[in-house]
Symmetry: C3
């Protein structure tokens, strides 16, 4: 039956349909053959691709645009790819010798996973900018930091109830991939080949991948590259509109630990975005302030190429998403200057811990950017603010933010001192600083509440969020509860077994 | 004054306006008369209806469409309804002899409530599919399960402070209807007739209904039928666009207990929906994958008629919303195969409790679907996934989900063992397993946190939700807090009065 | 270099571009000069303004419209403003003698801040309606109420860890402005002049403002006026669409303390809005029920001018946002009739506290509206409901709401009695009723949970929100935890230092 279906397909499929539509670019013979079957078996992604710019232009044409309007950044495109649409084979058929996930599929050698290295054939600058950033390194930055893994294991590891106590096991690779590594990215490993049963072809052989599916930003790919372009440019439309809309960033940057999206939604900027986005142009390159959009989204401030209406560049395109950031709001356990390098596993604070600050708040400046670099980055962000706001306005805004960071970090410092007292008194066991109820309350202070207040301040306001949602109310309330819990424990002569 | 208004209305109202507009279908004489007054007294719903398909076509025409594009499912339509628009009287004037809520209104006998039985005149298949499902049975499934009502009463019942203790009363019918039954549906009862004062007509007599207003999915109607079509197809546009958009499902399936919408929003599918929905067609029947939409919504996976661009059916339309579901993610108190029947009050676990699993996790298989049925349902869902994803992709996805369900349920099992220890030690009173602070912490484990992680996994990822929002972080933290609370109680020789 | 840029600007700037575009109104000479530089330095706001009605019409023309369609409410417009577009200078150049923030800027005296008094030149009725309302008085209503400031300080003040106890400092002005006053509004004070460095002009002198930037609804402006029109009509488009969309209200009226937006989103009204808003007209004046929109938003019910399709007024426009509200859902600490006046600092309850009810629930009726006024307001709101719903429907709806308010307040009353017991027993110190962990749990009852349930009821349902999110589940759970915490404290002979 399946054989008949395939035969019929080969005989009657109107193949030129894919190649010669008005508005469509010519497709390669290989891609034409991919499409012949995949319009049957996975029509959704074929149609999605047909709506994409990849199907409607060829790189040679894309190269002819001037620098500001060009959407590909490589200086030249290999002959084989220059004059055909960017189709199935052009992406999945690249660099197969480097891909441990390459396999034979109906006469072609293709890769399951398209990596940043593959995309760099046309988008070289973006791939280069991205490589080595905190995002690209996000897998190792988590799993190679023993302190972070202590936290992850305390959250994700199975707990057993044994003799009236909870015994913890390490996190399973499944749970890690479903949680932390969903955003940070998995390490994809090829375990070999496996046989699967398909509707159209019956049994076929495909690579057996561990850590897959995954689209985390720091995924380690079977060709050795880091990252996943589809984290923000979802296949197979690779739509710039999707990448520019905040829902993309919001998949990972959200309440309660990194509430960028939640805060943005409640801000004036977010209000204008939500109210007027239907009148904006999310496809234009360059992205013109005042014409294409009238309030910032994540992409406006952090990475897009932004120009004034007269074509003057306000901000250069960058895929180093931290390159306009000087201070790291994200509390570990206090705010601090951004790390010098994307690989933050090398950082050691004055106490020898793999953290950018000590528990007392001292930053590990050797690993963090200096003041000159901070100023340079602040100026690049300010240039975006200045597209709408007066110098005084945004200067005053950042002054408020600086004061807020300082005030919040002081509250976190008090929380750490309370925690330290509990450890000193034997009311908690400092061995693992994240596993007990009291310690988790301490983590809430910096990981949820301090972060929330700082993000609210940075994004020009989400005052109710900073007050009652996950902000000052919780910061103060939780601190009182920590104190009270300690009093209760103390008055019952409670002590961690073995500490007294 | 009112009389004059009415007289003027009758004399000058441009009645043919309703009947003969371009693009409008002819309306019945009865409906014409309804519209004559209601364009004055409730113009909002008249205008809403005017925008609906009901006002623009007649059933006889709708019947002529071929099977795939047809929007009504009855084989034939009674003569009286076939050639006029589906107007006020066509719906409110049906089956008045069966309706306890029928009444005389300006010379016509009409019903306040239009029931699924009334809608089934044209939409017979949908009404039949829906009847007997968990949704249709949702009222009784809650109020006729004594264990669930123990939980509901412990949440909603008034508490008095008497001699240093909290005394609980049962939930009021008002609070039940404002909370649980808002989604599950009330039982509408006709208490008699009452006089109300209206602007246009002065005092009029209308049925006095208990449990009204309500649009819960399992509402028990005055004609004895179950359900409320307006729960998802809100009156009076009955828009398929609204029913297909996830905001409809999100009215009930949301954080913290059933966070389907919250998880979807954070997933890649949700991101694409939110970013590109303005380019989709939410009105087309059948709903064409890749053309009308490029990422799933709730309706795509669970109930819509979906075809490939070439017209091949990927999924049949169904109003049995569980028919593509094999495993019940919703923890009671562990995941388990879907129930065989919509009426789940009959279920008894091995301990004799009206629950689909025991506290130890053993499923009451006699009442749950067997493996063959599970496989059949999984295949029907997989067919939708396969519209965009390779066989290996969605197989690996479901494998991850299976592992996650197993891991989460193991954590819930540990929580239940901790709770059981508390009951055994007299640190809590097992009489009502839901009313004490410690017991409510146990309920959080399965009702909020386990559910959240499972939904996150099932919908291809909302990794931060599964980690920090209502997921593993809370599951582990709350477990530690349960343990610590028990330790504090134990060391203060606390015991539930009467248990020691 | 800067000088050269400016010279070039002056020479080559195509100034008439701003004045004579098709569809643009003539701009004043002063505004033309503003635009000449600001299209370079802040092009975003210039372009935003160009899209606004302010740039496309002149007040003299706007005045000619009939009463229903007119968008300005002043009876006459001063000659100087009547025949030019409402441009930069027309707003920033007004009443400079009254503005402490006026300054010389490139030859013109302008104000940094445009105040409601300035806007009242054209929008006199709105400014008058707004003045004296709770919103206009929002700054003083918070900071001049010593009890509220005790709460604010307990949340925002820095806590130090001294000898095993937490010592609290008052809130800083920075934290107040980043949280409470972000919505309530700051008091803007002119500290003098300061020098700032700008890209285009180098060093310039500008007023040095304390409390700025801020767009809170009760901001006290440098001309002595109260309020900030840009809180809802964000500059510089002043779009009525933005003001009418619920995202504007949602900047402040949201979870967890005032969850209006959260509840609306989950309601049927919110579902219809989210699903169909792309087909609505958010610009039309008057706003026509059934034609421009088919479900209410915040603005529909609370302040917009709403007419029937035949032009009959259902609701008059008002900028007194409480004028259709009779009961104050917001718990302080119980619901009560709305205050008579916007300045609520004058209220004293029977115990002498600045609260609209006593802790026992007795309302301070002397300061609250009487029944006749309550009925009048309920009727004005009901007229909006009646645009779509039958008299019986909305009457039954409000009956449910009344019962829910009563039930919830009874639960809050129990919580207050529990709290009172703790104070009486010395388990907490009543001196500051908001600073201890147990007291913060009591505040959660009325400030978060009671509010949430009442808002859910008022907005026709968000049943899951009222049940599990921040509703009955939390109300009951937290009450149990309060009791249990007291038991633990009691059994450990805990007492607040100095109370026993």
């Amino acid at each position: 039956m399946r054989t008949i279906v395939i035969l019929l397909l080969v005989l009657i499929l109107p193949l030129p349909l894919f190649a010669q539509d008005a508005g469509k670019a010519p497709v390669s013979l290989q891609t034409e053959e991919c499409l012949g079957c995949h319009i049957i078996v996975t029509p959704g992604i074929v149609k999605d691709w047909e709506k994409s710019r990849h199907s409607r232009t060829v790189p040679a044409e894309a190269l002819k645009k001037d620098k500001l309007t060009r959407r590909i950044s490589s200086e030249s495109i290999p002959e084989a790819y220059a004059k055909v649409a960017v189709g199935c084979y052009e992406c999945h058929g690249q660099n197969t010798d480097r891909h441990a996930d390459s396999f034979e599929h109906n006469g072609y050698t293709i890769n399951v996973i398209v990596s940043p290295t593959d995309c760099s054939t046309c988008h070289a600058v973006e791939a280069r900018q991205y490589s080595g950033t905190k995002k690209a390194m996000a897998h190792g930055n988590l799993v190679d930091n023993p302190l972070y893994m202590t936290l992850a294991n305390s959250i994700l590891g199975h707990k057993s109830w044994v003799d009236g106590d909870l015994k913890a096991a390490p996190a399973s690779s499944n749970s890690l991939s479903e949680t932390c590594l969903g955003c940070h990215g998995t390490r994809i490993e090829v375990r070999g080949m496996k046989t699967i049963d398909t509707d159209l072809l019956g049994e076929i052989q495909v690579p057996d991948l561990a850590g897959w599916p995954n689209e985390g930003v720091g995924r380690i790919n079977p060709d050795g590259s880091f990252g996943s372009c589809t984290a923000c440019h979802p296949r197979h439309s690779f739509s710039i509109e999707i990448a520019r809309k905040p829902y993309t960033c919001a998949q990972c940057h959200l309440e309660p630990d990194v509430p960028a999206w939640n805060v943005y939604k409640e801000s004036k900027h977010g209000n204008i975005y939500l109210s007027k986005k239907h009148t904006w142009n999310f496809e234009n390159v360059p992205w013109v302030l005042g014409e294409d959009f009238t309030a910032p989204t994540c992409a406006v401030c952090h990475n897009s190429l932004i120009t004034n209406p007269d074509g003057e560049v306000l901000a250069e395109r960058t895929h180093d998403f931290g390159s306009r950031l000087w201070v790291r709001l994200f509390s570990l356990i206090y705010s601090h200057p951004q790390p010098r390098k994307g690989d933050v596993t090398v950082i050691r604070n004055a106490d020898g811990l793999p953290l950018p600050t000590t528990f007392a708040g001292e930053p590990a400046m050797e690993y963090l950017i200096d003041e000159a670099e901070q100023d340079r980055r602040k100026a690049s962000m300010s240039a975006v603010c200045g597209g709408c706001h007066s110098t005084d306005w945004y200067t005053s805004h950042f002054d408020k933010m600086d004061r807020t960071i300082e005030e919040v970090d002081r509250m976190v410092h008090t929380s750490t001192r309370v925690m330290q007292s509990a450890w000193d008194e034997g009311l908690a066991d400092a061995g693992n600083p994240f596993d007990e109820a009291l310690e988790k309350r301490w983590a809430l202070q910096w990981l949820f509440y301090a972060n929330s207040i700082k993000y609210s301040s940075a994004m020009t306001g989400a005052p109710d969020y900073a007050t009652f949602k996950n902000g000052w109310w919780e910061l103060s309330r939780n601190l009182e509860e920590m104190k009270e819990l300690m009093e209760l424990k103390r008055s019952t002569q409670y002590s961690v077994p073995g500490t007294k």
